[in-house]
Amino acid sequence: MNIVISALLRLLAQGLHIALMLAVAPLLVGLIRLVKARLLGRRGPPLVQPWRDLLRLMRKQPVLADNASIVFCAAPAVSLAAIVVAAALVPSFALGMTLGPVSDLLVIAGLLALARCATALAGMDVGTAFGGIGASRDMTFSVYAEPALLLVIFTLAMLAGSTNLDLIAAVLRDGALGLRVSLGLVLVAILTVAVAENGRIPVDNPATHLELTMVHEAMTLEYSGRNLAMVEAGKALKLLVWLSLIGTIFCPFGTAMADNPLFWPLGLLLWVAKISFLAVALAVFESVVAKMRVFRVPEFLGVALLFGLLAAVLLFVSTGMT
């Protein structure tokens, strides 16, 4: 009986988690925009503006370029579906949800890569220079970001004995590992990768419409209507996935267990607090740094790579795994 109840609770937590992620993602973008506007001395749009934009875009009929193929129409859906699955796998307020056993970090990285590749293909489909420039640059960045991300996974897997995110988060939540220098280095690496993967300043400017500085924006320049709504929703959800991932791994305190609903409200509250903190931090960071040249980005991500490498080597030395 207990097993059935706990399975149901896990399922309920999973459903709640997915709904929460989907609902919160546009609000997160709204929060970042609001904080940035305030820092610049503007009033800024209301928090729910991204949601309103999405609904408005859904009501508009899309205009497709003359030679857009089926790839162009399918790509946003594929990309969004991949990000939604990744969002379902990255825990928010509770650990041990139904999909916990399949939430492998390599799989999550693979799903995000799938989303990226779908978007890049869409960028190439219409055959304009902007789409190509965005796709080319985004894929180039991934050549540096993926190794750095793998080093993060490598170090975490070494600490927890598995690449399963749920297991890693549980091990880190229990605090059995204590504070480690490697974890700090890994945090720097993953923050850098997250900035690049989400196309935030200094790698890319999400608010730009200046052609030469566009990366992510350039690939989706041709989208309109419901297709653009999918692209925007995917972008917002991806940011939330990354922030949740960072929160779950590096700030796992207070995360509830899925089969113990009494702690859900606390977990929820703390998750909102963590995400908001990260969002505000991102907004502040974006307001104080300048965007860098495209050809400097590999160096920027090279730093992440170096930190990841240091973390792994330090771990070998400190744990006496020699």
């Binding site: 205009v63 193929s69 939604v84 799989v107 996974i153 419901r226």
Partner: protein
């Protein structure tokens, strides 16, 4: 079962040789050759599948061979895994070739079935003589197919280079087998007497060089992006999909099986180093090539590197007595052999279709094929999902296992080793991302966008059998991606045979697991989640979004619609292969490939066009091949000088040589 399968396999090999003879006598009977080889190969695939499911091994001695020695054949799980891959890819290639795509392809007809038969013979061999016979026949038959457009200088020089490399690999493999088993050519004798000390080291070096050069392991990979694209597409597919795997089979057979389990831990080191170099170099070159088939050939180098890394880790783990890890690494390597073999064959066939349909293999002359060749494009996208290692494709499943193996490898111990393994993992991740970039570049430039030439705009879809061959491979890719446990189950007997340890507990109910208690990758669940996500998105859009769409000129950041005399807009304004590769060329290739960009800007007032030219140089060229070329020149001039010696000098040189040889024999006798 194997006892029955072995004579049948032999019959298939003989049948294929017969088809080769038929093809040589009657060129007009091409359909018979290709149909016959399709039937024989599908029978072979079925036979290997059944023999793999019903375990067992068999041996057979043929009444021909070296004087006094019979040719030995044997069928065991390791050979069956590779035979299954060979026959599956060969079936698809034969079906694809039923539709002749160029008149010159007729020249390759007699060599095609012989090529398949030679690969099968190599895999079935149970003595050194048979194996080398098969291996060299494979090299020669494929060399002949590379020459099928012998009017072109490029084909001839590629074939010459290929022949040189084939000679090199023979020069390495024959002494390697001579060092094994104390002179007896059959594998049973070699197994009974595993090499030790310097002898083992020599065997390792010779086999890695000899078979590795055939597989395309860096730094002996230079010939591969030249030779593989030069053959007809269905044969390129077999060369990349199956022939490189046969070379890897020789490595596995000699190093895991014939050298015995008691080899030291450093046995894996050369494979790891060469594998990592191949992975990154191949991935990077795949982004730089401008020929559709050369891109795929370069990515073969990368994938062979991945497999070599898996084999290297299996060696390290076996030397450190970590049987589960060794099994995981070998499983990853063999699984990647299967997945890469299938998706690369698919991609080469698709590239052949694009070449035939779109009239060119060059990226800058294609574009927009998705509108005219939808089936080929869909197949290429399916293949690229494997190439880019995206879930839930086949490439992701096998690379997931390889990554799990390397993530667990630091358990072997030793800080230096651990650090090198970390660097190796970084390079593998980089190679994966490079492969994804190459896949997007290939699809985006050749198949999407706007046609760059009128010929590409008028492209035509290939015929029914060619499409069926590609779609069959797509279905196989999907099966391998969704049911990795089934494929690992097929491979397991081979792993058990090589390591005497299986994958117990690492094949879960729904997915692959790195360890018995740890959750792993559940391909089917991820795929169903993706499908469910897609359905949910479709439902939401249907309920809340406006239906339908309008068409208009591309917005392109506000540029005006193209003028009437440029019906596609100006196709040169879209990104091409060279421009897509530009960021990577500047960021990585300047260091690795010595990439240089030269801008030739006309002076003001001059009306000629400005040009940007790019020069690349593979590092193996200045470091390895150029010095060898110089030494050859020197050796030739030295030999040339000997022709002009006086008779006294000639006689004294001969006498000195005689004394030297006798002294050498005396020393060796005493030793």
């Amino acid at each position: 079962m194997s006892a029955l399968a072995l004579p049948l396999m032999l019959a298939i090999i003989l049948g294929l040789c017969g088809l080769g003879i038929v093809g040589a006598i009657r060129t007009r009977w091409a359909w018979l050759v290709h149909q016959g080889s399709a039937i024989l190969c599908s029978l072979g695939a079925l036979l290997s599948l059944i023999a793999l499911i019903l375990p067992g091994s068999a041996a057979l001695a043929l009444p021909i061979g070296l004087p006094g020695k019979a040719m030995q054949l044997a069928l065991d799980p390791l050979a069956l895994v590779f035979l299954l891959l060979l026959f599956v890819t060969a079936t698809a290639a034969s079906l694809f070739a039923l539709e002749q795509h160029a008149a010159e392809e007729a020249r390759a007809i007699p060599f095609f079935p012989v090529f398949i038969a030679a690969m099968a013979l190599t895999l079935l061999a149970a003595d050194a003589f048979t194996l080398l016979c098969g291996f060299e026949l494979m090299s020669l038959a494929s060399w002949a197919t590379i020459l099928y457009r012998h009017e072109e200088d490029r084909s001839r020089s590629a074939a010459l280079f290929y022949l040189g490399m084939a000679g090199f690999s023979a020069a390495c493999l024959i002494p390697a087998f001579a060092l094994l088993g104390g002179g007896a050519p059959d594998f049973a004798a070699m197994r009974a007497m595993p090499p030790e000390g310097w002898r083992a080291g020599f065997v390792l070096a010779l086999v890695v060089l000899g078979a590795g050069s055939k597989a395309g392991l860096a730094p002996l990979h230079l010939w591969l992006p030249l030779a593989h694209p030069a053959a007809p597409s269905h044969i390129s597919a077999l060369m990349s999909g199956a022939m490189t795997k046969v070379a890897l089979y020789v490595i596995v057979r000699v190093l895991f099986d014939l050298c015995g389990p008691a080899q030291p831990i450093w046995f894996g080191a050369p494979l790891l180093v060469m594998g990592a170099a191949s992975a990154v170099l191949g991935g990077l070159r795949a982004n730089m090539e401008s020929d559709l088939k050369a891109v795929l050939a370069a990515s073969t180098i990368e994938n062979v590197g991945f497999i070599a890394i898996g084999l290297g880790i299996a060696f390290l783990a076996r030397g450190a007595d970590l049987a589960p890890l060794a099994a995981l690494a070998l499983a990853g390597a063999l699984f990647h052999v299967m997945t890469h073999g299938v998706f690369k064959t698919l991609l080469f066939l698709g590239a052949g279709a694009a070449w035939h349909g779109g009239g060119s293999r060059m990226l800058q002359r294609l574009g927009g094929l998705v509108h005219r060749m939808p089936i080929t494009t869909a197949c290429m996208i399916a293949g690229c999902i494997g190439l880019a290692a995206l879930p839930p494709g086949p490439g992701f499943a096998s690379e997931w296992v390889l990554f799990q193996a390397i993530l667990a490898a630091p358990r072997i111990g030793g800080l230096a080793l651990q650090t090198s393994l970390t660097v190796l993992a970084v390079l593998m991740a980089m190679a994966t991302a490079l492969a994804a970039t190459a896949a997007i570049r290939l699809l985006g430039v050749a198949f999407l966008g706007r046609p760059r030439t009128p010929r590409a705009a008028g492209a035509q879809e290939v015929g029914f059998t060619a499409c069926a061959a590609m779609l069959g491979l797509v279905a196989l890719c999907a099966l391998m991606g969704l049911f990795p446990t089934a494929i690992l189950g097929l491979i397991e007997p081979a792993i058990r045979q090589m390591l005497r340890a299986g994958l117990s507990g690492q094949i879960g109910v729904v997915g692959i697991q790195p360890g018995a208690e740890v959750p792993g990758y559940a391909a089917l669940i991820i795929a169903s989640l993706l499908a469910a996500g897609g359905v949910a998105i479709a439902l939401v859009l249907r309920r809340w979004a406006v239906a339908g769409h309008r068409r208009g000129p591309a917005w392109a950041g506000g540029f005006a619609a193209p003028p009437a005399w440029l019906p596609f807009g100006d196709p040169a304004t879209q990104y091409g292969g060279a421009s897509f590769a530009q960021p990577l060329r500047r960021a990585l290739a300047t260091a690795v490939l010595a990439a240089r960009e030269e801008v030739d800007m006309p002076r003001p007032g001059d009306t000629r066009a400005g040009r940007l030219s790019v020069a690349l140089r593979d590092p193996a060229e200045p470091w390895l091949f150029a010095p060898i070329g110089r030494w050859r020149e020197k050796a030739t001039s030295l030999a040339d000088a000997m022709q002009f010696l006086t008779i006294r000098q000639t006689l004294s040189v001969m006498f000195a040589l005689l004394v030297l040889l006798l002294a050498g024999i005396a020393v060796m006798e005493a030793w």
